[in-house]
Symmetry: D2
Subunit: 347 residues, 4 copies
C-alpha cells in the first residue's frame, strides 16, 4: 500500500488553489495537510468557496504559521515575484510545483525583460524543470522544483512542439490566435472582469506584449533547435473555463496535412490526456471542461502549403492545477492518471 504524502497548497484562496482542492480531495495518495491564504487566514475554505463544504479540510493559515517540516510537497499558487522569495525560503526536503510564472523562463535576462525586475532566486532557476509533462516526463520525474506551464503555452505548445521537432512545419511565421475564458484572470476584484463588462462580447488584449509569448518561444525553440518568434494574440471571451488556440503554420518541405496528423498521432498515441481528433472533427472547449485533456486537430488551409491547427484545454486543469497534479504523479512514480480520470461536464 502506498504511503500518503502531506501536501500544502500555498495561496489556496485563488481559483487554481480551489481547483487543486477539487482534484486532490479524491486523490488516494495525498493528505491535504496545509492550505494558506494570507488575507483569509483563520477562515474555513467553505467560507470563501461554499462549494468546498467538506469535513476534514484544514483551516486557512498564513504562510508564517506553516510547519514545513511535516510537508512533503508544496503546490505554490502565489503571485509571481513574491513566489521566488517564498520558494527560496522553503526547506530543501520539500518538493515544489510552482503554478506561477517565476521559474518558467530559463534565461534570467528574459525574465528581467518581461517581468520588469531582476530574478531574485537565480540559483533555484537553474534547478527548475519546465513541466509540460508530455514533453519533459523524465526531467519532471527527477525534479525537486517544477515550473508548471502557463495556460496559453500549454494549449499552443502541445501540438506545435512535436511538429517542429519533426521539422514538419516552418519555425518562422507561426501565428497563435487564442481565446480564453475569464477564470484565467483570477479571483481578484477588477473592473475589467466584472460580469457586465465581459458578458455578450469579445476583445483582444496584450497584443504582441503578453508574457506567455516568450514562454511559448522557449518551448518551441527547444523543439525546433532554433530561435524563433511567434505571433500570439490572446482574447477574452464570456466563458468560465477553456482556451481554444487557432494556430496558423506553414508546411515545411513536402509535408502535407496528413503528415502533420500522422506525427501528432504518433507522438501522443499512448498519452492518456492528449487526443488527436478524427479528420474533419472540430475541437471545442466544451469537450474538455473540467478535465486534464488536450484535444487537437489539423486542417488543410486553402492557402497553399499551409495548415490550421486547433487545440483546446481547460485553462484551470491541463492549463494549471490538473497538469500540476499530473506532474506530482510523475514525480512520485504513481500512475499518471491518478485523480485525473475525469469526464468532461457537458452541457
Amino acid at each position: 500500500m502506498t504511503k500518503k504524502i502531506n501536501v500544502a497548497i500555498l495561496g489556496a484562496s485563488g481559483y487554481t488553489g480551489a481547483e487543486l482542492v477539487r482534484l486532490l480531495l479524491p486523490h488516494p495518495y495525498v493528505n491535504l495537510s496545509v492550505l494558506t491564504g494570507d488575507s483569509q487566514a483563520g477562515k474555513e475554505m467553505a467560507d470563501i468557496y461554499p462549494h468546498l463544504r467538506f469535513s476534514g479540510l484544514p483551516k486557512l493559515l498564513s504562510l508564517e504559521q506553516v510547519d514545513f517540516t511535516v510537508v512533503d510537497l508544496v503546490f505554490c499558487c502565489l503571485p509571481h515575484g513574491t513566489t521566488q522569495l517564498v520558494i527560496a525560503g522553503l526547506p530543501k526536503h520539500v518538493k515544489v510545483i510552482d503554478l506561477s510564472a517565476d521559474f518558467r523562463l530559463v534565461d534570467p535576462e528574459a525574465y528581467a525583460k518581461w517581468y520588469g525586475h531582476a530574478h531574485q532566486a537565480v540559483e533555484l532557476q537553474k534547478e527548475a524543470v519546465y513541466g509540460l509533462t508530455e514533453l519533459a516526463r523524465p526531467q519532471v520525474k527527477n525534479a525537486r522544483l517544477v515550473a508548471n506551464p502557463g495556460c496559453y503555452p500549454t494549449s499552443a505548445s502541445m501540438p506545435l512542439a512535436p511538429l517542429l521537432k519533426a521539422r514538419a512545419i516552418d519555425a518562422t511565421g507561426i501565428i497563435i490566435d487564442a481565446k480564453s475564458g475569464i477564470t484565467g484572470a483570477g479571483r481578484s476584484a477588477k473592473q475589467a472582469t466584472l460580469f457586465s463588462e465581459v458578458n455578450d462580447g469579445i476583445s483582444a488584449y496584450g497584443i504582441a506584449s503578453h508574457r506567455h509569448a516568450p514562454e511559448i518561444e522557449q518551448t518551441l525553440a527547444d523543439a525546433s533547435g532554433e530561435q524563433l518568434t511567434v505571433t500570439f494574440t490572446p482574447h477574452l471571451m464570456p466563458m468560465n473555463r477553456g482556451i481554444l488556440s487557432t494556430i496558423y503554420v506553414g508546411l515545411a518541405g513536402k509535408n502535407t496535412v496528413a503528415d502533420l496528423r500522422a506525427i501528432l498521432e504518433k507522438a501522443y498515441h499512448d498519452e492518456p490526456f492528449v487526443h488527436v481528433l478524427p479528420e474533419g472533427v472540430m475541437p471545442s472547449t466544451h469537450q474538455v471542461r473540467g478535465t486534464n485533456d488536450c484535444v487537437m486537430n489539423v486542417f488543410a488551409d486553402r492557402a497553399k502549403g499551409r495548415a490550421i491547427i486547433v487545440s483546446v484545454i481547460d485553462n484551470l486543469v491541463k492549463g494549471a492545477s490538473g497538469q500540476a497534479v499530473q506532474n506530482m504523479n510523475v514525480m512520485y512514480g504513481w500512475p499518471e492518471t491518478t485523480g485525473l480520470q475525469l469526464t468532461a461536464i457537458f452541457p
Copy 2:
C-alpha cells in the same frame, strides 16, 4: 468482490443519457453494456457527444436490436408516453429506473388529466416506486421499477416534505418560485431554447399549468397527510445546469425559523447528499454544479409568521441522472455514494 451488473441506457442520445454515461463510466459495479438511440442507431456515442471519446463504449443500437436477456438494469430516458409501452414490454427480470414522467403520478386519473391520454400500463404503475431517495429508501430498495423524480419536484420536495411531516409549516399557501437552467428543456432543436433567444434575459413559463405541480403535490400530500395545492412558477434563465427554488411558507402554530432549521438538520443529518447551510449563508446553483447534492437554507421573512426557503440542485444530476444512480445503488445495496462522490465544478 462485487460482481458487475450489465446496464442498458435507453435513449442515451439525450442530455440525461449522456449524463448517465458520465456518472457510470467510473462506477465500479457497472458494465455499460447497451446504449440505444433510435434515430442515431449505428453511431458511436462520440459522434454525437464528442466529450465522451472513450474506448469501450458500445455503439448506439435501436431498441429492437437490444438483447435484454443479458441486461440486469435499464435506465429509461425515453419521452413520456412511449416510455410506458417500452417498459411494459421488457422481461420481468430487468430492473428499471425510469427518468420519464410516466410512472410518477400514482393516480392514473391524475396522469390522464395532466398528460392528455389514458395511462397504458396501469398495472405497472401500481408496482412503481417514486424514487426521491432520501424520502423513500426502503421502498426503493425493494423496487423493480423506480419512477425517478422530476427536477423541479426534487428541488422543492426535499426541504418541504420533512417540514410538512413535522407539521411545522402550513400545508396551504405554499409558493414555489423556481429558476431553471436550459438543459431541462432537452437536446431537441427548438426555437425557444436557441442561444440567441435565451441569452441575457429571463422569462416565466407554464404558470399554473406545469406538469411538475401535481408531482410536487403528491409528495407533499404524502408528507402532510392531507391534500394540498401548491403555487408553482418555473422560469427559464441563461445557465446550463441548475435549479434554484425560492419557497414561501407560513409557519404552523408556534414554530419558528429556528425550529424549521432544526427539523431539516435532523432530517438530513446523516444524508451524504443533502446539506443545510449555516444560518444566513445563501445557497447558489454554483455550489452544486455537476454534483448529486441538494443544498438548502431557511430564512426569516419580514412578514410575521412566515419563512423563506431556498433550495438548489443540479437538474441533470440530483434532478435526473445522479438520483437515478443513487437509486440503483440503493436497489443493489451498494454504498449509496458509489460513483457520486463529486466536487462541484466552480467556477
Copy 3:
C-alpha cells in the same frame, strides 16, 4: 422652437451615468454641459467608456470644478449618503433628479433605520417628490427635487399600485420574487460580481433585508391607504440588464383575474411606456432591453383566490436613467416620450 437646457450629470462614470449619456445625446432639448467623475476627473468619457466615442462630450470634471450658475438641471448619480450633502449644497435655481436612494423614503426615521445613519438634509427631504412617473405625474411636474425610484420598486409597484388603489388585491401577504441582471450592482470592482462568480448560476441575496423593501412598502401604502409589509426576495442572475418580478397576490373580495387585467389595462391605457400583454402571453426581459418600457401580465393561480403577476423592466432604463429622463420631460412640459422612443434590442 424650444430652448435647450444645460444639463449636468454628477457621477457620470457609473453605469447609470453612462446610460444617461446614451439617452440624452439625441435628446433635442438638452445640452450635455457637465459630466463629473471625481476619481476620473480630467479624462474623456471615451477613455472610460469606449462606446461613447463622440465629439462634443465635455471632459469629466471633479465636483468642485463645476460652475453651477449655468446649469439648469442636475442628474445626480452619486453614492447614497454623500448624495444628500452634495444636493444640499447646490444653488436653488438648479432642478435635481436624484438617482440615489437618499430622498426616496419620506420618513427620516425609516431612512435612519435602513441606511444606518441620520438623514443629513431633512428639510430637502420634505421637498422631494418620489418620481414613479405614471403614479405621480402632477407632483413631478412641479417638483424641484425628484427622487428617482429604485429598479426593484419600479418593477413591483407599477402593477401593484393600481390594483391596491382599486382594492382588487389583498394588501397583506404580497410576495415579490425578483430576478435582476448584474448591472444593478454597479461598475465598482467587487469579487461577487466578477464574470466567473456569476456566470452559469443564480443565487438569492438580501433576503428580507434589502433596502428596496421599505421603498416598495411606502408606495403601496400610499396606494392602498394602509400600512403593509411585503415579502421581497431579490436574485442575481447572469444577464446584463433586466428585472423580472414574479408577484404572488390574493384576490380581494370577489375580484377575478379578469378584473385585475381590466384595472391594469384601464390604468395604463394611455401610457406610452406601460404595456399589459394579451391574456396568456409571457413577459420576458428580452422584450424591454434598452427601452423605458414596463411590460406586465396577470395569470390565474391554481390556488383558489390567488393571482400571479409578472412584470419586466430594463433596470438601467425604466429602473434608473430612462425614468429620470422621463421625469425631466415632465418637469419641463416636453412630450414625455422625447428621447425615449426606443425599440428593444432583440436578440
Copy 4:
C-alpha cells in the same frame, strides 16, 4: 418635405428582418408597408417578436399576397437559392436590397462552385452592385439591385481594402481569424445553436470552407488589382451580436504600422460609421452593439514586418440590416446616417 417611400421586407420573420423593423420604425422617410413570412402568414409581428409590440405594423403576408405595384423598395431577407428566383420575378420599378448571398459573387462560376448549383438569374447578377457602402458609394447610388455584403466580409474587408489599394500590405498570406455571435446562425431551430450547446465554450467551424471566403477575396482582389487567397477561420462563441476579426498581415515594402494607421485614418476620416481607434486602444464588440459602426485598430506584431488588425461590427447591423438601411439612404440621396444615429448599448 421628403416624400415617404413604401418599403417591403420579404422574410421579416428572421433576425435580419426583425432588425430592419427596429431600424426602420423611426426612419422619417419610410413607410413599412409590407412584411412577409410565408410560414407565419396571417400573424402579427408581435406574435413572433413580442418586443415589436407597435401599432401600425402590417400583418405578415405570404409572398403571393403582396401587391408590388405600390412598393418602392424591397429588403429581401430570404434564404439563398430561392432569393434569386423571387427577385427575378419582381416588377422592374422596384428597387431591391438583397441580404442573402445570391448576388454577391460577380462570377457565376464561383457561385456555382461555392453554392452547389448554377445561378438561375445570371442577367440580374450583372446588374447587381456589391454594397459595402463605404467602398462602393457611387455604384450603390445608381443601383437598382444591391447585394448587401455578408457579416464576416464586412468586418474583414473594411480595414483590408484601403490597405491593399494603397499597396501597404502583402496581398498574399492574409489570415482572418473571426469570432461571431450566434445570431449569425439565424432563428431556425438547430441543435448546434441551442443555448446548452453553445454556452460557456467556443469552437471553430467551416475551416477553409466557409462561403464568405470567396466573397472576401472578391473585394480584396478588386482593391489590390490581383487575385488572392485568404485564410479565413470563423468561430462560434456565446454572445448574441458581434463579430471580432483578428487579421494578420505582412507589411509591403517599407511600410510601417504607422503608415497603415495613417492610410486607414485618411480613408475613413469623413465616414460617420467607421472609427479608427487611437494607438493602443483595443476594439471590442461591446463598443458597437446595436450600432452601424465598424471600429478598428492596427497593432505592431513582434514578428518583423508584420501587423495585426482588429476590427469589430455588430453582425446584425453593419453586418446586415444596418448596412442595408445605409445603402437605401444612399440610393435615395438621403443623409446617409438617417435612422442610424445609434449609441451602443453597453453594458
